[in-house]
Structure formats: structure tokens, C-alpha cells
């Protein structure tokens, strides 16, 4: 499966809520909504925060800063916690990363800042993610605004997509003084943070607070507006001084097997989005099968468990070694009671004409043709078997959105926008950031990466706009 364009953070603490659900029995008595909102990761208490903050060595030229794609000055924000300057601490975080509150919860910190912590060699690394959560929660709960817009430049920039990359770009553009306008297809800003990551990892409130912080800088957001359908993309190029494409990726692509149209067959992102926004997903029954083994598959499966589905199983055509889900997500799913079936590919979905009733799988074996790539699954004929199910969730990656790119004559590779290191596309004045330019094998499709790219794109836009100006000034003086 392809990357899901989202990420999740390490979770050493998730056992604390689990005693009940891991066993599966007493879980029935807990209200599903309550369990959906119950964070997998408890916030640190004040004593823990101070103990942990004081443990930080306050390294010079610290490796945790280098390991963060947005280069948050980690020692600085932690030291500010110790001096009770929590507003200052949150400002350091959010200044570097406009999605710093979300990232505190969903970053794979083991691979980033905490993985780089010098204390990790001999002892436990500093719990940077948890401390970041403390500071950002602190200002969010107290409704403290951290930034102000720059002096108006008179320049207007359109940002297509209000997810992490778009918000980061818009926030930076506003701080440069440019008038940023976000076009967002969904009703709410935040992208996958608002719609695509399960609430027990990232509550909507956090994602929406970050979006609110951006809007407070004067950024205009047109939500429920799909560029290309409701607004012609060429209009944006014509009416704005620059355009940032940050529209992410599309839904889960079809499995291309018979029966996908049946009731009870879900797109995982659609499923999570409905659950997260409190909409009904109907009766899932007792048996849910999730196809795919990335982080979104884990999210769909654990979500189903928390909706009190008895039997939730993930079917994957490769093995645990090849799956894209983070190891801690895999552990989490197992502890939530999710089962895993390896080397099984779906052949067709069976129904009673209306609703899904079963899935036919075939066993696969892995074949290595190119050592630089993941092994390919090959169906083993005669091994077909049928599993009775009440719902099927497709979680095999995300499709690419190419129509806008083609309309704008933006160079892309199978929907992946070609950008230079400054996030410039082949068309002058058009920039791209986040998942729409995410290239498999180059970095990781993480929220923090999208935030970093949004910032880089905004800086490039700023250079582009101010270069225009200085050229004009030069032109004027020559005239």
C-alpha cells in the first residue's frame, strides 16, 4: 500500500487506557464516543513536565533541532518550560511549525527529534513530543494568540488546499504581509489532521485551533469550495500574484475487483472522516475486514474496534515486514484487539445484491524481482477462501489528483508535482507543497514534512513577489 499522507507518534503510554479493551470483554459497556475520544496518549502532569524539562541537557547546536523537518528549537522551548515561560515556549514551537500542536501528537518522534536526542545513547531520550504537547495545549486552552500579520504588502496569494501544507504556507505568507486566501474543498480546514487521523490520536479541536490561529492573521478561507469545480483554476492564476498548490491526495483508489459498489464497503478515509466528525457510519455488524496495512488501515481498524465491532481483521497481501504502518501503530492495533492476516489478496466482494456479505481472498506468495523494490505478491491459484463479513474497509493508499495539474500545465509524474528544492513548479508563480508533491522514497509523508514544505513554499513565494518588486524598482530607476 502507498503512504497514507499522515503519520502518527510513538506511544509508550497507551496501555493506561487499555486494561478493558485489550481483553475485549468489558469494552462493550463503554460508550463508543467516549472510547473514540479517549486519547491513546495521556498528557504529562505538571510534575512530570518539569522533571522531564529539567532533564534536558540544553545541548548547543542540538541534534533534535536538526532532526525536526521544521527545525523547532527544542532546547529553547524546553528551557522556557522550566522558567514558567510557557507562552514563549509555545511561540518557539509554533513559529517553526504552524502545525506544532498536531505534530506533538502525531509525529513519529522516535524517528525524528527523540531519536536524535543525545541522552538516547545511555538513557531514555527526552519526551520532546509530550513537552511540545504541554506547551501548545497550554496556550490553546488559554486561548492565547501567538502571532501577528506582517505589514501589508499588497500582494495576494491563493492557496489551494487547507491541510497542513496549505495552512503552514498561508500562515507564513500572512506573517510576510501577503494576503493569503485558502480554497478548501471540505467544510473545515485542517485536511487530514481534521478528517483523516483518528480522534484518539489527534482530536479535531487541536487541528481546528491551528487553523484558527492561521485565520486570525487575516487569512481568508473559502471552505466547501472545490477548485476546478467551483472556481476555475485559471482564475486563481490570473487573479492572484502567486498560487500555492497544497491539495494533498484523493480518496482510496478502487481495489478493482467485483463487488466494490456494495453497501458496507468503505473508503477508509471517508470512514475515518465520518467517525471523526461525529457522523453515523451505520451498523458495522460484528465482523469488519480492513484491506491494506498502512497507518490509515490501522486507524480504520482501531476505529472499528472502538465502535464496538467484535471482530476486526486486517488483510494484507504482503507481510509484516513490508507493511508501511509504523511499528508502534502495529503494536497499538494488536493491543486494541485487531487481528492480522498476511499474504492474502482480495479477489471479489460477495453480497446479497445490496449489502456486502463476504470477501473472497486468495493466498499470495512474495516474489523478488528487483531488490531495490518491495517484493511483489503473486496469487497462489487454488488457495481461494471466503471470509464472512459485515463490512469491508479499503485502505490501500490514496489516489493522485491530476486534473488541476493538467489544466495548469504543471509538470508532474503520475500526479506527483515536480518541484525544485524551493517548492517551485515549472510554472512561474505557481508553487506546491505537501502530499501533492510527495514523492515516494523521498522523505516521509508526515504532517511535519508538509508543514516544513509549506514554510519553504511561502518563503519562495515571498522571494518571488519581492523580487518582482525590486525588479520593478530597478526598472523605474532606469526609466
Amino acid at each position: 500500500m502507498t503512504p497514507t499522507g499522515r503519520d502518527s507518534r510513538s506511544d509508550h503510554q497507551f496501555l493506561w487506557i487499555r486494561g478493558d479493551s485489550a481483553m475485549g470483554e468489558s469494552a462493550v459497556s463503554v460508550e463508543p464516543q467516549q472510547r473514540l475520544d479517549q486519547s491513546v496518549h495521556r498528557p504529562l502532569g505538571k510534575v512530570e513536565v518539569l522533571t522531564e524539562a529539567h532533564r534536558c541537557l540544553y545541548c548547543y547546536d542540538a541534534p533534535c533541532v536538526a532532526a525536526c523537518p521544521t527545525h523547532i528549537d527544542v532546547p529553547s522551548f524546553i528551557r522556557k518550560i522550566t522558567t514558567d515561560n510557557v507562552v514563549g515556549s509555545a511561540r518557539v514551537i509554533m513559529e517553526a511549525n504552524p502545525l506544532g500542536a498536531s505534530c506533538a501528537r502525531v509525529c513519529p518522534t522516535d524517528d525524528l527529534c527523540e531519536g536524535a536526542c543525545v541522552l538516547g545513547m545511555d538513557a531514555a531520550p527526552i519526551r520532546i513530543g509530550d513537552l511540545q504537547r504541554y506547551s501548545t495545549d497550554w496556550v490553546r486552552e488559554r486561548k492565547i494568540d501567538l502571532f501577528t500579520p506582517g505589514p501589508p504588502s499588497g500582494k495576494r496569494v491563493a492557496v489551494v488546499g487547507g491541510g497542513p501544507a496549505g495552512l503552514a504556507a498561508a500562515r507564513e505568507l500572512a506573517r510576510f504581509g501577503h494576503e493569503a486566501t485558502i480554497y478548501e474543498a471540505q467544510e473545515q480546514l485542517g485536511g487530514l489532521n481534521t478528517y483523516g487521523i483518528v480522534p484518539f490520536r489527534l482530536p479535531r479541536d487541536v487541528a481546528l485551533w491551528e487553523a484558527e490561529q492561521v485565520k486570525k492573521l487575516g487569512v481568508v478561507a473559502h471552505t466547501g469550495v472545490l477548485v476546478g469545480r467551483d472556481v476555475p483554476i485559471e482564475d486563481l492564476v490570473r487573479n492572484f500574484d502567486a498560487v500555492v498548490l497544497a491539495f494533498g491526495m484523493g480518496g482510496v483508489p478502487p481495489l478493482q475487483i467485483p463487488g466494490e459498489e456494495l453497501q458496507g464497503v468503505w473508503d477508509a478515509l471517508d470512514f475515518i472522516s465520518r467517525v471523526k466528525s461525529g457522523q453515523s457510519v451505520g451498523d458495522l455488524g460484528d465482523r469488519v475486514v480492513v484491506v491494506g496495512a498502512g497507518n490509515t488501515a490501522i486507524d480504520a481498524a482501531t476505529c472499528s474496534k472502538r465502535l464496538n465491532v467484535d471482530n476486526v481483521a486486517i488483510y494484507y497481501r504482503r507481510t509484516a515486514n513490508e507493511m508501511t504502518a509504523y511499528p508502534f501503530e502495529y503494536d497499538f492495533a494488536k493491543q486494541e484487539g485487531v487481528e492480522f492476516r498476511w499474504l492474502c489478496a482480495p479477489v471479489r466482494i460477495l453480497g446479497d445484491g445490496k449489502r456486502v456479505r463476504a470477501v473472497e481472498f486468495v493466498k499470495t506468495r512474495l516474489e523478488v524481482s528487483d531488490y531495490s523494490k518491495r517484493p511483489s505478491p503473486v496469487p497462489v491459484s487454488g488457495t481461494e477462501f471466503t471470509v464472512e463479513v459485515d463490512a469491508v474497509i479499503r485502505a490501500t493508499g490514496q489516489s493522485r489528483l491530476t486534473s488541476l495539474l493538467d489544466a495548469l500545465r504543471i509538470a508532474h509524474d503520475d500526479g506527483v508535482v515536480r518541484v525544485d528544492p524551493q517548492m517551485r513548479t515549472n510554472r512561474s508563480g505557481v508553487f506546491a507543497a505537501g502530499d501533492c508533491s510527495f514523492r515516494r522514497g523521498v522523505g516521509d509523508a508526515m504532517v511535519v514534512e508538509a508543514a516544513a514544505q509549506g514554510k519553504i513554499a511561502a518563503a519562495a513565494v515571498h522571494r518571488h513577489l519581492t523580487a518582482d518588486e525590486s525588479e520593478q524598482r530597478r526598472g523605474a530607476s532606469h526609466g
Binding site: 518539569l50 522533571t51 524539562a53 529539567h54 541537557l57 540544553y58 545541548c59 548547543y60 547546536d61 542540538a62 541534534p63 522550566t82 543525545v118 541522552l119 545513547m121 545511555d122
Partner: protein, 415 residues
């Protein structure tokens, strides 16, 4: 098992760990509990005319998450009737005859008053007296405590009055709130004291509340200076102990006080000349039970070094404390960083770069990591990098001079 017993100016105790005259020795109940825990001796909360205390008395100085690095108080001497204290002292001594029970005394600086209290108290069987000429707050405003202890003449006079009638050893407790503590130490010796104890608390103000702007601690919104103690004062006290220990005009045993929290602290005090130590803040922080490790740790230490008695430690490092002018200018050390142990926090680098002599370079080691390398030509051997390094034994201060040359500043001046 080494012999841990000590003799402080004639007062014997089964181990060097005494409780200082302070809140933990306020009552017989507490001292009994302390002796049950293993304390070798206790200096009773200062006896005198009972006073009235204020409410809100202590302040804690917390540093980067570590509580009570320093501590201060504005509590006065005992607020309990003398009869009660004397009855309890007698009971404690009867229950624990092998422990040292020392009565701390403070009265108006009048001969008759001093001699009367000495006679009354020694009747109950104390092992010694400690004259409180150190308390820097409250009592000093009434002409007692450090008001006496800051004047060598008054101190000597009072000591003489006490020694004249005392049948047990007399310790004089000195205040550090003085320019040169040796002058009052000498006065105590001249007055006939059998030992000195030091240091009493240091004049201090713990802090100011950032919300209310009241001093810490405060009484009804205002505050007064108090006596400072705890781990943070240990270096000050050690220096004063060493100064007195190497002064031939002092020449009497020392009971070391000031930030003693562990057996290691006690060993340092004893090496610098103390015959035993007194403890207060660590007990106020953790309770009497800490003495168990103090005894155990000291014992292990002595055994490991093949020493049979704690008293063998006394003064062993005194000869190594000299005046600056007697230090060898030819001695040279440089920092050496163990690359295998280095965790690359770069604290040594920035400390040297910003605050010392710019002699640590960050050099690419080819693996993408920047190695920290000392320029030994430039290094002055200040120790700063080794001090800030969070990894044990990662930075060694290695001797690089030939070892054969000695030239002190005094010798250099004489050339």
C-alpha cells in the same frame, strides 16, 4: 567493619553523625526517634529564655527542579519551657547513654545568667554544651547569637564564663557572617572552649514572590532576613573549616556543619579537619532515616580503603589547603575528550567558546558527526568543559607538564 566512633573535644559518640541544634532536635520525642534511627549524637534545640516565634518560618531555594538546594529560616531558639526540655534531655540520655547529647545555650551576655543556665542544664546529665554565638536573625537583634559571635572579645568573655562552671566540654558555635572566621575561632580557643562548631547559618533572603512581590518567606506580607543553610552552603563552610583547621592559633577540634547530607559530605569535612559533623537540612528534607546510609556508606568507604577508624580521616587533607601564592605555576593540565563516550551535546564547546578560551573545535570526523577536539596549545586547563560535560569521565584533565618543575607565585616574586 571500621570503628566509626569519634571524639569531638572530649565528647564521644558511636558515629560522627550528630543532629545540629535546630527544629529536628526540638523535643525528646524527636531526639528519641533520631537515636532509634542511628544518629550518633544530637545538639538540642537552643535553650534559653523561651521566645515567641512567628508563623511562616522557612524558605526553600530550589534550583532547576532540585528542591531545597538551599534553605533558610527565621525561627528562633526553643519556645518550650526550660523545665520541659531538661526533663526530656534526662529521659533521652537515660534511654541512649552511648549517644552524645549536647545542650545548645543562648542567653543574655551576662556572666551570672550564663553560669546559672550552665549549672541547671549540666545537672540533667548532658555530655557537653554548645554556645550559640551564631544565630543571625531575631536573637541577634536582642544582643545575643551572632551579635556576640561577631565580636571576638564578647565571645571570649562568654566562653570564659561558661568554661569556669562547666563540668563537661564546651563547644563554641561560630557565625560565618564575619570577615575572617579565624578571629572568633581563636577567641573561642583563648576563652577555653574545647571545640568549635561551624558554620551557623548565613544571612539570607530566599527570594521574592513574582506574583505578590513579597519576600520569601514572608510574615503577613513582609519579611526579614533569615539563616541560610543546606547543600548550597557546603563549599563556604568547608573553606572556613579548613581555614580554622590549618590555623595554629585555633588548635582545637572542629564539629563541621553546613550542607552535610551524605557520608561523602562528612568524609570531606573530616578530611579538612572536622572530628565529626552536624546535620539539619537533609533531615528536614528527608527525615531521620538518612543516617542509615551515612553510617553504611562511611563504613564501606573506610573498609575499602583499609582504614580501621573514622578518626583516621580527621585532617588528612588539611595540609593540601594552602594560600594561592603557594600554588605551583608550572603545573599544567589540558582537557582530553573521550570520543567514544562523547554524546555530542556540545556543551563543552559552547562553554569554552563563550566563557573560556575558545580552544575546543568541532571537526568533521567523516561520519557526518562533528567531533569535539581540544586545541591543547590553547587550553589553559580551566576545567570548565569537564564541569559542564554531562557524561561521567568523558573529559579528563590530563597533566602535560614534565612534573619536575615547581615555581610558586611567592617564589617567582622573590626571584
Amino acid at each position: 567493619m571500621a570503628d566509626l566512633s569519634v571524639n569531638v573535644g572530649g565528647i564521644k559518640s558511636p558515629n560522627p553523625f550528630w543532629l545540629a541544634s535546630a527544629p529536628p532536635t526540638n523535643s525528646g520525642y524527636q531526639v528519641m526517634r533520631a537515636f532509634e534511627a542511628g544518629w550518633g549524637g544530637a545538639v538540642w534545640k537552643t535553650l534559653g529564655d523561651p521566645i515567641v516565634n512567628v508563623s511562616s518560618r522557612f524558605g526553600g531555594f530550589h534550583v532547576e527542579g532540585v528542591r531545597m538546594v538551599g534553605f533558610n529560616n527565621i525561627e528562633l531558639i526553643t519556645d518550650r519551657p526550660l523545665e520541659d526540655n531538661l526533663r526530656e534531655i534526662r529521659e533521652v540520655k537515660r534511654a541512649f547513654p552511648d549517644r552524645a547529647v549536647v545542650a545548645s545555650l543562648m542567653v543574655d551576655n551576662v556572666k551570672e545568667v550564663w553560669q546559672e543556665i550552665v549549672k541547671r542544664v549540666q545537672d540533667v546529665g548532658v555530655d557537653g554544651f554548645e554556645l550559640n554565638f551564631g544565630c543571625p536573625h531575631g536573637m541577634s537583634e536582642r544582643g545575643m547569637g551572632s551579635a556576640v559571635g561577631q565580636s571576638p572579645e564578647f565571645l571570649q568573655l562568654a566562653t570564659e564564663w561558661v568554661v569556669e562552671v562547666a563540668e563537661v566540654p564546651v563547644i563554641v558555635k561560630l557565625t560565618p557572617n564575619i570577615t575572617d572566621i579565624r578571629y572568633t575561632a581563636r577567641a573561642a580557643a583563648k576563652g577555653g572552649a574545647h571545640a568549635i562548631s561551624m558554620i551557623n547559618t548565613i544571612n539570607s533572603l530566599i527570594g521574592v514572590d513574582l506574583d505578590t512581590w513579597t519576600p520569601i518567606p514572608h510574615v503577613d506580607g513582609i519579611g526579614a532576613h533569615g539563616g541560610y543553610c543546606g547543600p548550597a552552603v557546603k563549599p563556604i563552610a568547608l573553606n572556613m573549616v579548613a581555614d580554622c583547621a590549618r590555623d595554629p592559633l585555633v588548635g582545637i577540634p572542629i564539629s563541621g556543619i553546613g550542607g552535610v547530607s551524605t557520608w561523602q559530605d562528612a568524609v570531606e569535612y573530616m578530611l579538612l579537619g572536622a572530628s565529626g559533623v552536624q546535620v539539619c537540612t537533609a533531615v528536614m528534607h528527608h527525615g531521620f532515616r538518612i543516617v542509615e546510609d551515612m553510617i553504611d556508606g562511611l563504613n564501606q568507604y573506610l573498609d575499602a580503603r583499609g582504614m580501621s577508624s573514622a578518626m583516621e580521616l580527621v585532617g588528612k587533607a588539611v595540609g593540601r589547603v594552602v594560600n594561592w601564592g603557594d600554588l605551583n605555576l608550572e603545573y599544567k593540565v589540558v582537557a582530553r575528550i573521550d570520543q567514544d563516550k562523547c554524546i555530542h551535546c556540545n556543551k563543552c564547546y559552547i562553554a569554552c567558546e563563550d566563557a573560556a578560551h575558545q580552544c575546543i573545535d568541532r571537526v568533521s570526523d567523516g561520519s557526518g558527526q562533528l567531533a569535539l577536539v581540544v586545541d591543547e596549545e590553547e587550553c589553559v586547563g580551566c576545567n570548565l568543559c569537564a564541569i559542564v560535560c554531562p557524561v561521567e569521565d568523558c573529559i579528563e584533565m590530563a597533566r602535560v607538564d614534565s612534573g619536575g618543575q615547581t615555581l610558586t607565585w611567592r617564589e617567582r616574586q622573590a626571584l
